[in-house]
C-alpha cells in the first residue's frame, strides 16, 4: 500500500529561513508570540509592525501568500467564537455593538492571527522531526521529546492503518452516512488503539534489542553560528522592542 509522502505543514524550500537552526526558530517564534500577547490592544501601529515583520519573514522563506492564508484558516473557529463578544458584553455601545466587546474581538483576532502566522512560518520552514530536535537542543526533557518523536514517526503509520480499515469497510458494502460513519470510525479507532498498543510492545522490543536501557541516547546537537543567531533574533527582538514602546506609551 502506498504511503503518504506529504508533511502537510512543511513547505519544501532551500531559503535562509529553512536553513536556520531549529532551536533558534523555536525561540524566535516564541519570543515573537510573547511580544504580540503583551502588546496593549489599543496599539494599532504595533500590530501593523508585527504584520510587516512576519510578512517579511514569509517573503524571505519564499512562501506563497495563498499558502499562508490557507493555513491561517485554522483559527477561524476561534474567530467565530470571538465574534459573539460584541453581542454579549454590556454598554457603552456603538451601533448596537458593545464597544468593550469590539475591542475584545479585535484583541483576540489580531493576536491569534499573528500568533498563528508565526507558528505557520515555523512549521512550514522546519520539518517536524527537526522541531523535535530543536526542542531537544533547548533541553526539554528527553522523555517528552521522545514521545513527540514517536508521535511524529507513527502518525503516518496509524493514519495509513485507519485509511486501510476504512477502505476495507467500504469494500464489504459499508455505505457511510455521517452518523453511521462516526459509529464505525469509533469502533475503528478502538481497534487501532489495540493495534497501536501491540505495536508499542514490538517497538519497545526493537529498542531494547539495540541497547535501550530506559534513557534515550543523547544525540549530537545542532550548533548555531553567531550570524544565524543574530538573523534569527532580529524579528523577535524588534517585536519585543515594539511591545515595550507600546506598553510605555499606553
Amino acid at each position: 500500500m502506498s504511503r503518504s509522502h506529504t508533511h502537510a505543514p512543511y513547505h519544501h524550500g532551500g531559503s535562509v529561513i529553512h536553513r536556520m537552526a531549529p532551536h533558534l526558530k523555536i525561540i524566535a517564534a516564541f519570543g515573537f508570540v510573547v511580544a504580540v500577547v503583551i502588546t496593549p490592544r489599543e496599539a494599532w501601529w504595533a500590530f501593523g509592525a508585527y504584520l510587516a515583520g512576519v510578512v517579511a519573514v514569509s517573503v524571505a522563506a519564499r512562501l506563497r501568500p495563498g499558502f499562508v492564508v490557507f493555513r491561517l484558516a485554522v483559527i477561524l473557529p476561534f474567530l467565530v467564537a470571538a465574534a459573539s463578544l460584541p453581542f454579549l458584553e454590556g454598554p457603552p455601545t456603538w451601533h448596537g455593538f458593545s464597544i468593550e466587546g469590539l475591542w475584545d474581538l479585535w484583541n483576540v483576532a489580531v493576536k491569534a492571527s499573528l500568533g498563528a502566522f508565526a507558528s505557520i512560518l515555523l512549521a512550514s520552514t522546519t520539518e517536524a522531526p527537526d522541531v523535535v530536535r530543536g526542542l531537544e537542543t533547548l533541553r526539554l526533557p528527553r522523555a517528552l521529546t521522545a514521545i513527540m518523536g514517536f508521535m511524529v514517526r507513527y502518525l503516518d503509520v496509524v493514519g495509513g492503518e485507519l485509511a486501510a480499515m476504512r477502505v476495507a469497510m467500504r469494500s464489504r458494502g459499508y455505505q457511510p452516512r455521517w452518523l453511521g460513519e462516526v459509529g464505525a470510525l469509533a469502533k475503528g479507532i478502538g481497534s487501532l488503539f489495540v493495534r497501536s498498543f501491540e505495536r508499542g510492545e514490538r517497538v519497545y522490543r526493537a529498542m531494547i534489542s539495540r541497547g535501550y536501557a530506559g534513557r534515550m541516547p543523547l544525540e549530537e546537537t545542532v550548533h548555531a553560528t553567531t550570524a544565524m543567531i543574530a538573523a534569527s533574533f532580529a524579528v523577535p527582538f524588534a517585536a519585543v522592542c515594539v511591545a515595550l514602546i507600546a506598553i510605555g506609551s499606553a
Binding site: R3, H7, P129, Y154, G211
Partner: protein, 246 residues
C-alpha cells in the same frame, strides 16, 4: 571447530497460559554460517529468536553467545553481539530519520559522536542507502525501510544478525536485491523465513523447528528436497519448483 557464535542447549520455554513454545532445543551456529530457521506458523521460531538476545530468558537449559551465557546481567553485552531485524520495519525504525535511527544503537553503546557517525556511514553504505540518510522512514518504500532496519542492526557491529521473515510483503525484484545484499554482507546470519527459495538462495544450512522442537538440521537443499520431511512439517515449495537433494 571454532567456538559457536550461538549455542542453545536444552532450552525449554512455556508461556504463562501453559502453551509450550520450546522443548529441549539444541542449536549451534558457528561464525560465518548462514542458517535458515524454517517451520510452520506457531512452531516456536519467534520464541527461539527472542531467546537469542535475552528478550526472553530460558526457563530450562541455556543460551550462550560467543561463550557468554545469556542472563539478566549479561543482556547488554549480548544485545550488542546479537542483532535482531524484526519482521515489520515500522517496528524497528522508530526514530524520525534514517540516520538518527541507525545511530540509535551505537549511541546506546556509549560511543562518541564521531565514532557513531562513522558507523552510521558504513552501515548505510553497506546496504546502499546512503542517499536516504536524512529521509523520514515513512517516506521510504518497504524495501528501503527493510534495508534501513538492517543498517540499524549492522551499525551495532553484531557477531550474528537474526532476520525475522525478511522477505514478507516484498515484491520479487526487491526480494532478489535483498538476497544479493545478504550474500554480500560478511556476517553470521540466522534467517527465520517461510520463503523456502529465499532460504535456499541465501543459507547453506537449514534448521526445521516444529511444535517447539528442532526436527531437522542439515544442508538447505537436502532438507528442502526431502518431500516426506517437508510434508510432515507443513512446509511446501512453491508450485512448479522441484529440487534434487544433490
Amino acid at each position: 571447530m571454532s567456538e559457536p557464535t550461538i549455542a542453545v542447549t536444552g532450552v525449554g520455554f512455556a508461556y504463562p497460559d501453559g502453551t509450550v513454545a520450546l522443548r529441549d532445543v539444541d542449536l549451534h551456529i558457528h561464525p560465518g554460517e548462514r542458517v535458515a530457521l524454517l517451520g510452520p506458523n506457531g512452531a516456536g521460531k519467534t520464541s527461539l529468536v527472542l531467546h537469542l538476545n535475552g528478550i526472553t530468558l530460558p526457563q530450562t537449559g541455556s543460551v550462550q553467545v560467543s561463550g557468554i551465557p545469556v542472563t539478566a546481567e549479561t543482556v547488554g553485552e549480548i544485545r550488542r553481539r546479537v542483532g535482531l531485524v524484526f519482521q515489520d520495519p515500522d517496528d524497528q525504525l522508530f526514530m524520525p530519520t534514517v540516520r538518527r535511527d541507525v545511530a540509535f544503537g551505537p549511541l546506546n553503546l556509549g560511543l562518541d559522536h564521531e565514532a557513531v557517525a562513522g558507523r552510521v556511514a558504513a552501515a548505510l553504505a553497506a546496504v546502499e542507502i546512503t542517499e536516504l540518510a536524512d529521509r523520514p522512514p515513512n517516506h521510504l518504500s518497504l524495501g528501503q525501510r527493510r534495508r534501513a532496519a538492517i543498517a540499524g542492526v549492522l551499525a551495532m557491529e553484531p557477531e550474528i544478525m537474526v532476520l525475522d521473515e525478511p522477505t514478507s510483503n516484498l515484491d520479487p525484484a526487491t526480494r532478489r536485491e535483498l538476497a544479493a545484499l545478504l550474500l554480500r554482507l560478511h556476517v553470521t546470519l540466522l534467517v527465520v523465513t517461510h520463503d523456502l527459495p529465499f532460504a535456499l538462495e541465501v543459507c547453506e544450512r537449514a534448521v526445521i523447528i516444529d511444535h517447539g522442537a528442532i526436527v531437522a538440521d542439515g544442508p538447505t537443499r537436502r532438507l528442502l528436497a526431502d518431500g516426506v520431511l517437508m510434508a510432515a512439517h507443513r512446509l511446501e515449495l512453491p508450485y512448479g519448483m522441484a529440487l534434487s537433494g544433490e
